[in-house]
């Protein structure tokens, strides 16, 4: 056995250029597969990372995916709001640990404005229960303070204490220009939709909409002075949705049912994890296609491997005949070829492990900082070992064909 390994190694080394190219093509395809797999898992994780915070999302009755998209990802628009009274009523439930309201509808430049409470900043968590951090400043102190996401600050070049005017609706020209906001905090990059949000307090949203009705400004004399608002004035009338955390996850379906059966207003509660899974099933078609493509790349690399083994067979007839003469059996010749394929694929796997680790090391921080794609740097997972095993096994199985040819040749070829 030792002699076979030596022979295989030295023979491969003797053909180093072709062997090296084969190893490179196999390595690249394995790295491609592993990278796509990592990206796929990373995308899924950062997608699902947005739902770490709550058990239920409360909103007006509409499509559940729609509610999920606008409440967690700020994609699309809510069809209806829910009244502050219903929100208060629901929040009285004893099963609820905390409940954070959010209110959408306005925008600043290309970014959405979301009204919420201070609690949002404490409760919000992403990835593996990471908490929000401020790059600069802190959460709002006064009514017209604003906290902006990292992308907002970067793209619009905002600093602390800059002044911001919020526009009514999305992409609208009518500005709430009588109420300028002040940047009080800039959040650190999270890689979630939060990076592209402008956060204000619910009270501020109420204040700037005091003299608005049905989307247009109706000035009422004497009230358009912000100093005149009393605390009572600024209690919101409506919110868009609310994130609910329960004391115990066992009560999740009970609370959900109670909210769905709420008799004074058409409400619905969704379990974000479940809805997200439904949504992911739609998205994951692309994911599977990517995976299938990279699997095909591996197959083509393996075909390249057999092609190399086949094409060298003729040049190596004398070598094989010589081995036969000195006592090697046809079986030995057969195993020699399998061993060569095994060595090639094993080396490719080793190289691809090194390469992916290097890529992880150098690329992941860049992806995280620049694009907010957070990928976990797991060294090698069990599934990767299974994958390597499959690659090795496939390599051996496909090289049975050239090995069989060598076996036949070595029976017929004499001196």
């Amino acid at each position: 056995m030792k002699i076979l390994i030596n022979l295989a190694f030295q023979s491969l080394f003797n053909r180093k250029v072709t062997v090296f190219l084969t190893i490179i093509s196999l390595t690249v395809s394995i790295v491609l597969f592993l990278s796509i797999d990592t990206l796929r898992l990373g995308a899924k994780k950062s997608f699902f990372g947005n739902v770490k915070s709550g058990d239920l999302i409360l909103g007006s009755r509409s499509g559940e995916i729609q509610l999920l998209l606008y409440s967690l990802f700020q994609i699309g628009s809510p069809t209806n709001n829910i009244s502050w009274e219903s929100y208060k009523e629901i929040s009285k439930k004893s099963e609820i640990d905390w409940i954070v309201p959010i209110s959408l509808g306005d925008s600043h430049k290309q970014f959405r404005v979301m009204g919420t409470t201070k609690e949002y900043f404490e409760r919000y968590s992403y990835r593996k229960s990471k908490k929000l951090q401020y790059q600069f400043g802190t959460h709002f102190q006064n009514t017209f303070d604003v906290v902006i996401g990292n992308d907002v600050a970067k793209i619009l070049n905002y600093k602390l204490d800059d002044s911001i005017i919020v526009a009514h609706g999305i992409g609208s020209q009518s500005l709430h220009d009588e109420f300028p906001f002040k940047v009080k905090g800039i959040l650190q990059k999270t890689g979630t939709s939060l990076d592209r949000l402008v956060l204000v307090s619910l009270e501020a949203l109420e204040a700037i909409h005091k003299d608005w009705k049905a989307g247009s400004k109706i000035p009422i004399k004497g009230t358009n002075n912000k100093k005149n608002f009393t605390e009572q004035d600024l209690i919101p009338k409506e919110i868009t949705a609310a994130i609910i955390k329960l004391k115990s996850p066992i009560t999740i379906f009970k609370v959900q049912r109670e909210i769905n059966d709420y008799e004074y207003e058409p409400l619905q509660a969704i379990i974000p994890g479940i809805v997200l899974t439904k949504l992911w099933q739609i998205v994951s078609v692309t994911e599977n296609i990517m995976l299938a493509i990279s699997a095909m790349v591996i197959v083509s690399a393996l075909i390249g491997l057999i092609a190399i083994l086949y094409s060298t067979l003729n040049n190596r007839r004398r070598e094989m005949a010589l081995l036969r003469i000195v006592g090697a059996s046809p079986k030995t010749i057969f195993s020699l070829l399998l061993l060569e394929a095994l060595i090639i694929s094993f080396l490719s796997i080793v190289f691809s492990i090194i390469l992916t680790q290097l890529l992880n090391f150098f690329l992941f921080p860049i992806l995280d900082n620049k694009y907010g794609i957070y990928l976990e740097n797991n060294f090698l997972l069990l599934k990767d070992f299974y994958f390597f095993l499959i690659v090795l096994l496939t390599a051996v199985i496909v090289s049975i064909f050239p090995a069989l040819q060598a076996y036949k040749n070595s029976i017929n070829d004499g001196i």
Partner: protein, 226 residues
């Protein structure tokens, strides 16, 4: 056992087809004799050597080497028997270019009786034989064999053929590509080593001028049945 090799009623057909066949009624070679066999190209010399070394199998008949009917052995045993008892030198002095000369020499040992305890024995034997043939140790220890000169390759091939103390050496036109001086050197070395190691030699060639190095000669056409 007076005969090193005995062939009786041998019939061989290439791939069991009729386009080439070899029939030999009787051929025997005495122990420790050096025999040269002449034959035209295509007369079946190489085929006969392949049959003797057990690479190919006859359809019928017997081949007896060292009192063993080799053509009845299982294919594994045939391969082992060949590695242990038959040294082969062939036309292009086939060495594996990508392994060292010493490993080329030891190839037959790797496939047979190379154990830890006798590893040194075979290494020493290789170096001893090499020094007798004027091959320095550092030449044998080169990283690969492609750098060797033709003369060095010949000597390495001879050493490889005798390393396992074979009973019989078969040589297939090893001199056909050599000029006269090299031919002479080669045959002297080969004949000498067979005498000192007490090995029977069967060499095939079409060059009748080589007769003088051998004890006897056979012409293949004469022993082949038409």
């Amino acid at each position: 056992m007076n005969n090193a090799l005995e062939i009786k009623n041998l019939l061989f057909k290439w791939n069991n087809q009729d386009n080439f066949s070899l029939k030999i009624k009787n051929l025997s070679i005495k122990r420790n004799k050096k025999v040269i066999m002449f034959g035209e190209s295509g007369s079946g010399k190489s085929t006969l050597l392949n049959l003797i070394s057990g690479i190919m199998s006859p359809i019928s008949g017997t081949i007896i080497i060292k009192d063993t009917i080799t053509n009845n052995l299982s294919s594994n045993k045939k391969d082992a028997f060949r590695a242990n008892n038959i040294g082969v030198i062939f036309q292009q002095l086939n060495l594996l270019d990508y392994i060292s000369p010493i490993n080329n020499i030891l190839l037959p040992c790797f496939f047979t009786n190379f154990k830890k305890k006798n590893k040194n024995y075979f290494y020493n034997r290789a170096f001893n034989l090499a020094s007798k043939l004027d091959l320095k140790k550092n030449i044998l220890l080169q990283r690969n064999s492609s750098q060797l000169s033709l003369g060095q390759k010949q000597r390495v091939a001879i050493i490889r053929a005798v390393i396992n103390k074979p009973f019989l050496i078969v040589a297939d036109e090893p001199t056909s590509a050599l000029d006269n001086r090299n031919k002479e050197n080669f045959l002297n070395l080969l004949v000498n080593i067979c005498e000192t190691e007490k090995i029977t030699l069967l060499m095939v060639s079409h060059d009748t001028s080589l007769k003088k190095y051998f004890d006897s000669n056979i012409t293949l056409e004469r022993i082949v049945k038409k």
